[in-house]
Amino acid sequence: MAGNNGSGALSSGNFGEVYVEGVTKIYEKEDECQTVLQDCTFHVQRGKLTVLMGPSGCGKTVLINLIAGYEKPTSGHIYIDDISVVGPGRDRLVVFQETALFPWMTAYCNVVFGCQVRKVTKCEIKERAELVLKKVGLYEFRDKYPSQLSGGMQRRAELARAIINDPKILILDEPFRGLDAMTRQLMQEFYVGLFEEVGRTNLFVTHEIDEAIFLADRLIIMTFQPGRIKAEIEVDLPRPREFRMLASPRFMEIREQAIELLYEEAAKAFAAGNKTAYDLVGAVVARKGICKKQA
């Protein structure tokens, strides 16, 4: 499918895959144990866009932190290709849920940070930065500080900071949360275009059904408390993806399937008093109502 043709400058085409095997994560708080993740096993395929979905609080960010190597699983293993994850590494770069741009650096300095600390030569840095900044449309804004950029621009800067290093795997944790609907749609379009151009292995976290299906090659649905892998859905919509596919019968079919799976978990999260889950349940209930009427 998505190959690395025509993207030689952006990427060397050396991508990886992730194996998560029997990963459990338990947090201990004041004699109380909270099992956040329980026996999670899945595979992020090379060159594919895998979307991880689940209600708010189900442990998606924790799972990302484990894959990125920021935290260690209580039990189980994570492999990148066939190398066990022992700590953070440049082969897996994360776009964080809350912005993690360095506020004291300009967009340019943020983007080149990785190259600078690795002592890449100055002129190579400059050349690559120019290419990447132009790619994400921030070249004109390179001297602005993050606080002077709009939400969408911040996300693009963060994306640029990751892709300039050509990671084997790109991990994005709800990157478009908090953006307004219009910006969000533009960002999704931009992001999916970038993915289709480069064909890098991507792991994308979201709790928006439409976003998930629009982007994904494969959907992984998680359960709520404890977080387990509930199901995997193959999304066989053709690429390049376009927004009009959101109305296609196949999209609807997949969506119904995903909603069925998610509903139970969202309701559980809702019952547990999770605020953000409220929106998801609301959306799902509305959706179900419509379906029943149509049926």
Partner: protein, 257 residues
Amino acid sequence: MKKLKKVFNIRVLRGIISIVIFVGLWQLVVFVKVPYLKNLPYPKEVALDGISAAGTKIYWLNWEISLIRIFIGFIAAQLIGIPLGLAMGVSRKFKDFTFPVFEILRPIPPIAWIPIAILFWPTRELSIYFLVFIGAFSIIVINVLQGVSNISVSLKWAASSLGARPKDIFWRIMIPGSLPSIVTGMTVGMGVTWNVLIAAEMIAGQNGLGRMTWEAYTNYNIPLIVVGMVSIGVAGYLCSSLIRWLGERAMPWKKRF
């Protein structure tokens, strides 16, 4: 731009009006001889005394002496306090060893150190430097410590993923990340420092703005007391402005556009 200028002018005007009203009230209070305040000089007397004081060499010498004391004590506090706070923030072990002692000493008001400072330091001047140091020290340490621990963990994670070594994380994340707190600590510390300096000068000094004010009191020269007070206020304000200016320079990303 034009609009901004207009607003600015209105605000300046309001400020001027408030000062005029204040001086007017002062004049009135003296004029009607409000009980307990009847010894207060007229604003004009203070102004005249101030002008004549400003013509003397000794007045400016007092300024110089006080400012030198402030800067020596204050800078010493920063030079020792900032690295100490950073070390406490970075290393849990170091913090566990040092913080308890620090917490025991911290609640002691800097002025309470005056007697022991005078006894222990060989010269009065050194004891005043020391007191100024104490005034700024604990505040900067606490602020740096807080600044370091407030740096979001995802910034450190992001940096280490991008290939930063501990050295890079320290210089490029921890230092700039705690800079806002450092500046806050310095601003607050500068205020405390002036309090301490004036008390120390009144009790132990032979010169300086605090001593000048105290001597005016012993000579029952009330206008000169007020001149001293205003001078101290102005000096403190100038020092704080300097810190604020430096802070803005050091943190261009905080500028509002």
